[in-house]
Each structure stands twice: as C-alpha cells, then as structure tokens.
C-alpha cells in the first residue's frame, strides 16, 4: 500500500520481458564445473576455467544468480509490491537453508563412515579433522547457525546471506540503480579495509565473505534491471574488447606459471608482490576484473538471439541452469558420492572420467525430470494461479 504511490511517481525501469537463455546456459555450465572441481584430484579438473584464469565457476554462478533474482523478484516487486516480493525472496532463502541442512546430513554420514572404517598411522595428524564427531551437539548446532560449513558447502550459506539482504537492495535498485550499486561497492571496499566477515566454527571466518561477494550479486541484479543496456555502449567499444582480451591473456599467462614452475622466473618480483595473494574469500579485485573481462568477451561473441541457444546440443546445459538450486545440491551430493567411489576403489583417470561423466548425465536427467514435472503440473486442470517464469527461473536460484 505504502509503495504504490512511490511506484506511480517514479516509473520503474523496464525488465526484459523474455528470459535470456544465455543465463541458463552459462549457469548450467557453471554448475557442471563446480561439480567437477568438487571432486579432488579429478583429471577432468583440467578442463575447468579456474586453471585458465583468476576467476572460476563461482563468480559465474553468483553473478547469474543475482541477475535472475532481480529478473524474477524485480518483476514481482514492481507488480505486487515490496511485501509480496520480500516474502517470496525470504521463502527462497528458507528453501536454500533446508537444502543446505539436507546436504550437511549426507556429509555427516560420509564423515562418520570414514571415521569408523579408515585408519592409517601415516595420517594420524590429518585424522584430527574428525574431532568434531566427538561433540555432535556443538557441531550440529553450529551447522544450523551456518557457522560450521564443511569443505565445499560454502556456496549455499553465502547465497542465503545474499538473499536475506536482497529485499532492501532490490527496492533501492529499482529506484536508484546507480546509487544502489555504489552502495554495494562501498560495502565491498569497507569490508576490505576493515576486514569485515562473518565468524565460522570452530574458528576463522566464512570462506566466501558475503560482504565482498555481494558486489558480484548486486552487479548481476543491476545488469538485469537495465544496467546491461546502459553498459552496451561500453561493451561495443573495440578498446574495451581489446582490453578484456589482453587481461584474459595476462591472467592465463600468470596461471600457467602456477603449474609450470620454471616459468615463474618470467614474473617480475614487483608484479608478484603487488598481485599475490589472489584472495578468493574476499573476491579479490583481480578475480572480479577477470570475471568482468570474461563476461564482456562472452556477451560480444554470444548474442542474445544466438541460434545455437535453441539447438538440442546446448539444451542439457540450459535445462540444468534452469533448475539451479536442485542441480547445485545434486552436484554437491554427486561430488561426495563420486569422491567416495574413487577412494573405495582407488580410481585412476579412467574411473574419474567415467564418474564425472555419469555425474553430469545424472544432473541432466534430473533437471529434465524436474522440467517435466513443472510441465505436467502447469497443464493440470487443478493447478492454481499461473506464476509465469518465476518457477522456470528456479526462483532465481
């Protein structure tokens, strides 16, 4: 009620009417890459982008999630107001929380199994990681508070934190997008200057600092709400393209020196002094820039109406990207399971490849199944109010 007059007073920016399939495509690919990266020692890791530059699939995932969240909830906020849109965003955060706790349960089962069956005096020190099993009360409570997050379970808590703060941010983005983005950038800078982060259990801080990573999420949302059009002039500039390609090549050259030690002598001391460490926790500005360069080049060469987006070859990635929360959780679970199989049968490169491919197939099949369910539910005569696109967007996850 309160928002209605404001809404009529200032015309809100148009939100692109049709869903941009590129988002689903790249989010689907990002989900596959995250799955592959989560199986340690997997030979297929060599194909994931983190080996070819500073940023990795996490940046893609968070950016696109911000974009789709603004796309879905921005429309809801415009059409139905702040309260309804906020309620839906918070419900989404709750769903992700439940999914996270579900994954945590599976993880605990795996750990407990390893603790009960695996022993080797060589690893007496490493096995101390299982100490938390001695105090399940504390551990589980800390997990419920999102403070205890085992390896590879950091993305969903980040996402929950981002969504919890999203309603006021979206409200601001719809009215003063430049101001909102500047505010987000300010929080990022302040987080760097004052070491802001959330505490973790048993000690330390969140692996993905929400105060830093929110910049990417908000930037994605800003792009969805008209920012992309505003940037189109910049993106068309040949200088920007040249700069982006140059930076991507530079990042590639630097990553090569991480894997081929002898190349390190070609990196001047002043450069490595300035550049390292490239901090993932706080979304290092070099990583952010790498993502921007990657996005600039991608947008240039993959237009919105790219015919291949309709071709069957890309459908598997697109369908995974359309159900990202489910597929992300499935990917984390499959990575646990795959890792488990590899360690039970000491899998070589062949087994690792087979497990990776099988995992991706399961992800695609599940995504297709979810699409099918949505389709039959949408056609059912008893189905209630039609909510276009919101479901398709996976609620923006």
């Amino acid at each position: 009620m309160l928002v209605t007059p404001i809404m009529t007073a200032t015309p809100l920016p148009a939100i692109a009417a049709e869903r941009d399939l590129r988002l689903d495509l790249f989010r689907g690919i990002a989900l596959w890459l995250i799955f592959l990266d989560h199986i340690p020692g997997n030979v297929l890791n060599w194909f994931t982008i983190r080996n070819y530059g500073f940023s990795d699939a996490t940046e893609i995932f968070i950016f696109i999630s911000g974009y789709t969240a603004a796309f879905v909830y921005g429309r809801a906020m415009r059409e139905r107001g702040l309260v309804i849109a906020s309620a839906r965003i918070l419900r989404r955060a709750w769903q992700i929380y439940v999914a996270h706790i579900f994954l945590f349960t599976i993880f605990m089962a795996e750990i407990a199994y390893v603790a009960a069956t695996f022993d080797n005096p060589l690893y007496a020190e490493e096995m101390n990681i299982l100490d938390f099993l001695k105090q399940p009360d504390v551990t589980i409570f800390q997990a419920l508070l999102l403070k205890f997050k085992p390896v590879n379970m950091d993305v969903l808590p980040l996402y929950i934190a981002l969504l919890l703060l999203f309603p006021p941010m979206l409200w601001m983005l719809l009215r003063q997008p430049g101001f909102a983005l500047a505010g987000s950038a300010l929080v990022y800078v302040l987080a760097w200057n004052f070491d802001w982060n959330l505490p973790a259990y048993p000690n330390g801080v969140w692996f993905f600092n929400p105060f830093a990573w929110q910049l990417l999420f908000v930037f994605g949302a800003w792009c969805a709400l008209g920012g992309a059009q505003r940037l189109s002039g910049v993106l068309r500039s040949p200088y920007v393209l040249a700069l982006a390609i140059a930076y991507l090549l530079f990042a590639f050259a630097i990553t090569l020196t991480w894997y081929f030690e002898p190349l390190q002598r070609f990196v001047p001391q002043w450069l490595s002094d300035w550049m390292y460490p490239i901090d993932k926790t706080n979304l290092d500005v070099l990583r952010f820039a790498h993502f921007l360069a990657l996005a600039a080049v991608t947008v240039r060469f993959v237009p919105r109406d790219w015919p291949a987006l309709k071709s069957p070859i890309l459908q598997p990635a697109i369908v995974c990207g359309q159900h990202s929360l489910e597929i992300f959780c499935l990917g984390v679970f499959l990575a646990f399971a795959g890792q488990f199989i590899i360690s039970e049968w000491s899998g070589g490169p062949l087994i690792q490849t087979l497990i990776s491919l099988a995992g991706m197939l399961i992800m695609i099949a599940t995504a297709s199944l979810i699409s099918w369910y949505k389709y039959i539910e949408g056609r059912s005569p008893t189905s209630r109010v039609k909510t276009p696109d919101a479901d398709l967007a996976g609620g923006g996850a």
Binding site: E110, D119, E125, E126, P150, G204, Y239, V240, E261, P277
Partner: protein, 260 residues
C-alpha cells in the same frame, strides 16, 4: 593498493566510454623402496648457499627440523622411522666426512604461529645452517585464516634467514581420504608464495606423495593399523629431501672430494 589501482583503471575506462554510468635402514628395515621422484619435483633455482658454505668450509652441517604431527610416526621406535631420522641416514651416506647433526622439534597439533614464536630459541640452541619447516596441516585443521598463516610463515622465514640459515618449507601430506573434509590447497598456495618471496626452497610433499599415489608406488587410500606403510613413506621422503639438499647446495662435488 590493488584496490586503488583497480578503481583507477575502472575510472579511466568509464571516463573513456561516454555511455557508461558505472565504473630407517640400519636396524633390519625392509630393503629400500623404489620411490624415485622425478627431478622436476626437486629442482629449483634456489641455492642453499649457507649449507654449501657450512659443508665446504667447516665440514659440518647442522639441520633443525620444525614440524607438527606429520613429521613424526607413532608406535615403537617412531622417531627412528620418521623422515628427520631417515634424512639424517641418507645424508650420512652421501656426505661422508661431514659432521652431520639433525635436531627435530616436532610438536603434534602445533600451528605455524606457535612454531614461529619458538624459532628464536631453536635458532640460538641449534645454530643450524638449514631449517626444514614442515607446516600447514595443523593450520588447516584448526581453521587458521590463510592470511594469518602467511603472516606467521613470512615472519618465521625472515627470522631464520636473518640467523644465517637456509630454509626448506615442507608442505602437507597428500591425504586422499581426508581430502573432501580438509582442504589444504589454500595453505599450500601460501607456502609456495612465501617460499618464492624469500628465495626459500619448497619441498612439495603434497605433489610428491600425489605422484607416488598416481604412479602406484603407494596406495595412499589403504586403511591399515600397521606402521609399515607410514615407515616406508617417511623413508622415501627422507631420501627425496636428501637429494633435494644435495642438489640445491651443489654438494655432489664435495662428496667426490671427501670420498677420494
């Protein structure tokens, strides 16, 4: 600083584009394993000049080993089978005529910050020409922030070098069974970086054990209560360390002289 440059770059970019809005062998141990390590794991541009100097001019070599649990083995005669003792044995064979002394300072669960604070005593007691510093595992276990880990390591390495000793940083063990629970990669990156910054040597135990596992030298997934495998791995680490020291201190020539 990095942020400032990036902000500057962004400002320039935005300005340029008008459309923009935003800117163990001695005591009846099993015969030595075939656990050769490819030279590329042990080669480096870094020279252990203080080691060379000590061996060539004083014919003695004092080494301190600082580390946590994975520098030791439990069980009967653990210290004899752990890599510091195996290194001593391997070096004695190769550096005949050199007065060799290796002093381990191994404390289970000790984080790098604690180890660093104990360095001054170790340096003044042992007066080593070389400190082998095994770190990272206990920090990863207790969730020390990589940035704090870096600071401790950085100060520690500087302190050792100021005391006129060379440094070898040894990173974590490759432990495939705990890999999905304990992510050590961030700490391994820090160690590589600190070694590079200070011109210290890195003994990449993580990569070497990974190589052994892939090559089938050891099946590191094995569950066992016996000490055999732990002892064999430590034997092999001791030997790989010895050849890294011999290489980087250019002591092949010395050995020739002394054996002649």
């Amino acid at each position: 600083m990095k942020l400032a440059v990036a902000i500057l770059a962004a400002t320039v970019l935005v300005g340029a584009s008008a459309a923009a809005v935003f800117g163990g062998a001695a005591r009846a141990d099993p015969p030595p394993e075939e656990c050769d390590v490819p030279q590329s794991f042990l080669e480096s541009d870094v020279d252990l000049t203080r080691v060379t100097d000590a061996v060539k001019t004083k014919h003695r070599l004092d080494i301190s080993v600082v580390g946590s649990g994975s520098s030791s083995i439990n069980g009967p005669e653990g210290p004899h089978f752990a890599y510091p003792a195996r290194l001593e044995d391997a070096l004695k064979h190769q550096l005949a005529g050199v007065d060799l002394k290796i002093t381990p300072h191994v404390q289970p669960r000790e984080t790098t910050a604690t180890m660093a604070s104990g360095l001054d005593k170790i340096l003044s007691d042992d007066k080593p020409s070389l400190v082998i510093w095994q770190a990272g595992t206990s920090d990863a276990l207790s969730g020390v922030e990589p940035e704090d880990f870096r600071t401790s390591l950085d100060q520690g390495v500087a302190e050792i070098q100021a005391a006129n000793a060379d440094v070898i940083l040894m990173n974590m063990q490759y432990s495939p069974r705990t890999e999905s629970m304990l992510d050590v990669s961030a700490y391994a990156d820090v160690m590589r970086w600190v070694a590079q910054q200070h011109g210290a040597l890195l003994f990449d135990r993580l990569a070497i054990m990974h190589y052994w596992n892939d090559a089938g030298t050891f099946d590191l997934y094995t569950a066992t209560k016996k000490y055999d495998m732990a002892r064999r791995v430590h034997e092999c680490i001791g030997r790989a360390l010895a050849s890294q020291i011999i290489n980087s201190a250019h002591l092949d020539a010395v050995r020739m002289q002394t054996t002649r």
